[in-house]
Subunit: 418 residues, 2 copies
């Protein structure tokens, strides 16, 4: 008998329950033992729902029940969810969670505690929703030295960026639209300022680079300052704008950030639209691999939790302490890497005088700078893409350009993803 | 001590050896036991190579060596490679292979034999080269009812289709180019006629649908009849042409084929170019997931083999007999599903008379048929996309169109992928 308890019966938790109702007979047959949902711990009133018969309200009902072998933690927030994970592992139960805040903050302690208690702690659903990414990185790609990850890890902001361009909308309008459709929350900070994606890229980077990465070290630049004209100008140059949660492992340490970047339209990442997520993993042997799918949603996320449950049913005794439990990654905050930058400026020229602006840009930024012209939607806004330069060099050159006639200000810059 | 032997030191086998040379210290540390390449069985002379010290020529040197726990089978072809897999499993050794012919033909017997001998038989590298796909499907997505797979599973043909369009080449010329670059073999049949991809989609479908699919039941239409004008006309309608190895699981059974199809350019699969591979998996809970990467190549394929070795090091005792060992899928050979078709025809009109052709098409195929016009590259060739119809209905309508003035013949048809 393999009884499962769900802690927190919200969107994802009820999705797990729904799949278990559908599949517990099939799973029992596959694993030659009775596999079933046994209890749901929640404080909500669930009368009249299919979950009501399973409802318990006291944690002890789960933690002191020896028939429960596995606990699914789908409680939101940090502290209570983390407490429940620790308590379940201490009680000798396997834990599966979709809570990225818990994994980002306590992933290594929980992994170690599971190891010490001969149970497993799995969290495939914490990054990329239904997309298989943790297990492929942990096993399939793990002979590789992974040196870079570029992810579209937040569906809300990808929906907003896609819609902003498609429907020529402002940030405020597309945010309202996303809120109306339930893709963005009333307080959208976690999504639009990049903090949600920061936790996810910190989790992936810890696994990939064999050293713990603290999500608080992730540089976050959200999408609040991206305007419709940026999309229009980027498209002129053959680029799409995506919020890239990315990290690079270099000899000096790990660079990690969440920031809007220009992505060449010939690349797979540029084709990831609306609420979909994707993760590009660059490995020493495999080159580029990409994983794409639904990054959120009740059943997609619950499906990833079921994958972890199945992994535990197949290999309950498997244990291998990952290197990030003992090692901590060195984070590089300031980099002098040469990159290309998209530069948007406010100009008092109109676009008929653009030749003068273009030659100012070439004079200062060199022949390899690519002038994108003026936005059709706003004839005081122009943009170009710089040649490779460091962030410090960019600043010096931008200051110089800001002195030119007709240049009112350098309004915004974004990196070009390579 | 965990000694590994490689049988067959060709491109992939030597790649596995190279990675083991690089990584055996790291693996030994990770798994707290000495993990190393111990023997290479091959009949080639390897004097002067780094592989020479490991070379043995007698199978008994491997099969009767109790220190060898795992055998990597990277022999090409079918019979010898299969014999070696059977022999290794019988000798109580884990087997990892990249040989898709062996897996497609004997996958279920080998899986069962491994189970009976308490060892493991893994074959992640047999489909999609370095792309993690077998393990994600087997575990991460396995709570889903997978109902469709669409794969670009052959790098040679994807390179050829991509190049044919980009460089306006004929089939014969792009084949020569692919052969010159080493992407296609002197006898290109296995690739261009779809037989290589057929084995791969049969393997994936067996796993996905829990019933063995014989690759000989896969309907194969290669790319020999695709011409440059098809790409040009497809692009006019917003489509790319890809060789799709696809299968669908329906209530009546499994439809499975390898055939060139039109893929809407807004879809991720349409952005998979050159030698890259990708696999789209449609699941009941996850919706669309896609896996992309290098589908072949020495180190990418070897990386997948290393992933299997690492899986075995972590969970040597794991065993679960998949449903395809006992179940056989029902194959639907003829389908009356309604689909859309691309129809290319030879016309004696020239393109100034295209209005007449267009109205003939509308009269016969209805208002929803999309006329794509004449090819710029060939003004006797025109094409359109039909409304949804069955293959039988298409044939009747095409026969009718062939009777119209100015229509010389219906030259070629392809399905539109949905």
């Amino acid at each position: 008998m393999f009884n499962i308890a769900i802690l927190g019966c919200g969107v994802v938790g009820s999705g797990v329950a729904d799949i278990l109702f559908d599949k517990q007979e099939e799973l029992s047959k596959r694993f030659n033992q009775e596999v079933k949902l046994s209890k749901i711990l929640d404080i909500k009133n669930m009368d009249g729902t299919p979950y009501a018969p399973y409802l318990v309200t006291e944690p002890a009902d789960v933690f002191e029940d020896d028939s429960i072998k596995l606990v699914v933690v789908t409680i939101g927030g940090l502290d209570l969810a983390a407490d429940r994970c620790f308590a379940a592992l201490k009680a000798g139960k396997h834990v599966v969670t979709s809570n990225k805040a818990v994994v980002a903050a306590y992933g290594r302690e929980l992994t170690k505690l599971a190891y010490e208690n001969n149970v497993r702690f799995l969290y495939e659903a914490s990054v990329g929703g239904g997309i298989p990414i943790i297990r492929p990185m942990n096993i399939c790609l793990s002979a590789n030295d992974i040196y870079e990850i570029q992810g579209i890890l937040n569906g809300t902001t990808n929906y907003m960026l896609t819609g902003m361009y498609k429907d020529k909308m402002s940030f405020d309008d597309i945010l309202k639209d996303a809120q109306a459709k339930g893709y963005a929350e009333a307080d959208p900070t976690a999504d639009v300022d990049g903090f949600d994606a920061a936790r996810k890229i910190a989790i992936l980077s810890s696994i990939a680079y064999n050293g713990f990465v603290d999500f608080e070290d992730v540089k976050c630049i959200g999408i609040r300052d991206v305007i419709y004209a940026d999309h229009e100008l980027a498209a002129t140059g053959g680029y799409a704008i995506k919020l890239i949660a990315g990290s690079k492992n270099t000899e000096k340490g790990v660079r990690i950030s969440v920031e809007p970047k220009l992505v060449d339209k010939s690349r797979m990442l540029a084709a990831v639209n609306s609420v979909y997520n994707a993760i590009l993993v660059r490995g020493s042997y495999t080159g580029d691999s990409l994983f794409y799918g639904q990054g959120a949603g009740k059943l997609a996320t619950a499906s990833a939790i079921l994958g972890d449950i199945i992994e535990i049913l197949e290999a309950p005794d498997r244990q291998n302490l990952p290197a990030f439990v003992d090692n901590t990654a060195v984070i590089i905050k300031d980099s002098d890497d040469k990159e290309r930058f998209y530069v948007r400026l406010k100009s008092t020229f109109n676009d008929t005088e653009s030749e003068e602006l273009k030659s100012d840009i070439t004079n200062i930024f060199g022949n390899k700078a690519v002038y994108l012209g003026y936005a059709l939607s706003d004839n005081t806004t122009a943009a170009f893409i710089s040649d490779y330069c460091s962030e410090a060099e960019l600043k010096v050159l931008c200051d110089k350009l800001a002195q030119c006639d007709g240049v009112e200000s350098i309004a915004y810059t974004m990196r070009v993803a390579e």
